[in-house]
Assembly symmetry: C2
Homo-oligomer: 199 residues x 2
Amino acid sequence: MALNPQKPQLDPQYLEKLQDYYSEHKVIPSYSVLAGLWGISAKSWVSECVKRFEEAGFLDWTPDKQLKPGARFFERKLADSAVQAGLPNAAISDGYDLVTIDDWLVKIPSKTALVRVKGDSMIDAGIHEGDLLVVEVQPNANVGDIVVAIVDNEFTVKYLQKERNEFVLKPANRAYPVIRPKGRLEIFGVMAGLARRTR
Amino acid sequence: MALNPQKPQLDPQYLEKLQDYYSEHKVIPSYSVLAGLWGISAKSWVSECVKRFEEAGFLDWTPDKQLKPGARFFERKLADSAVQAGLPNAAISDGYDLVTIDDWLVKIPSKTALVRVKGDSMIDAGIHEGDLLVVEVQPNANVGDIVVAIVDNEFTVKYLQKERNEFVLKPANRAYPVIRPKGRLEIFGVMAGLARRTR
DNA sequence: TGACATCCAGAACGTTCGTTCTGTATCTTC
DNA sequence: GAAGATACAGAACGAACGTTCTGGATGTCA
């Protein structure tokens, strides 16, 4: 007896193939292309599978009724340090959804710039040489923010502080001096995050 | 005289609006939706604009003739600290292409996991609490690597070192002790990068 | 052995897609 | 101030889209 009528399962390969297609083209294909991708020759069945992926949260629709990736589409193995697990597999399968690292770091793409960090003047803030700083471009900032400022025609990353009613740029490294800009301080943007590659 | 017939310029806001739409929905909309997005009421003109974006490398087509993001679509303003610039605008327009932060950090998606960092035991390596560690999952590592190991059913991030022919896990913070695992040391993966959000 | 659900093929159908063509208002350029 | 390019609007059209319906093959369970 099917007392608990479970959702019919669908081929996990279907999802993988879709994800591979998406990662290559950055777009969800049409039903007929999906049919070819999945080795199905009936759009009606594609439609059915899409509905199931939709219910499972892997696909979704735009307000314009176009098929788009759902909340779980970009799910990666996310593991918490505190996770209790005997086996790595058990651990990572517990991980829940997270979109793209890009999405996590970048809120407004059109107002976001990336600055490659030179030097170690912010080392005590955990900002290393070669890191990619995610910057929200805006002309002003609050005291205490880490800002990217333009000093002597160069970008510089520093803490924004106030000293005797004047803005100063403070490094996070005792080997460097505080910068006291003459005249107006030109701010390029505020640090919103960073990315580092170590391999 | 138009000796050098330049490409007619197109509204940079068009691209930004498309990028923002894409970052929300992860999909390129249809021409009629684009028309609404750009405040245009003629699909013919949308078609023309798309052609220009295509020539500029911001849009492209799948083999199935579906519109998709082009090579330069995910380009962000990348600014070098050493860039010479009077104006911010002049500076960032010099920036060249970079794909997604995701692509930059993640080489092999299927073997990559993300671990949220707990505690400050690796603070001297510039790894803060709350950072997202990009980990290449593999059962072994080299001495000197920053590894994610499984100790007492918990993930822990440490340097892998050798001490009297035995592997030890060394924190980057003097307040924490070196971990000398009894028996086999279980390695989850090796750090490949990190992402931090500060806003 | 029958009842029923699942998995898939095939065709029909109204809608929406992107292309193309014509037309118009504005703005240069000489 | 005439010529030409540019930036749109609007309509027409065939092709492609996704939905829906019918129907067959296979598997499961009592």
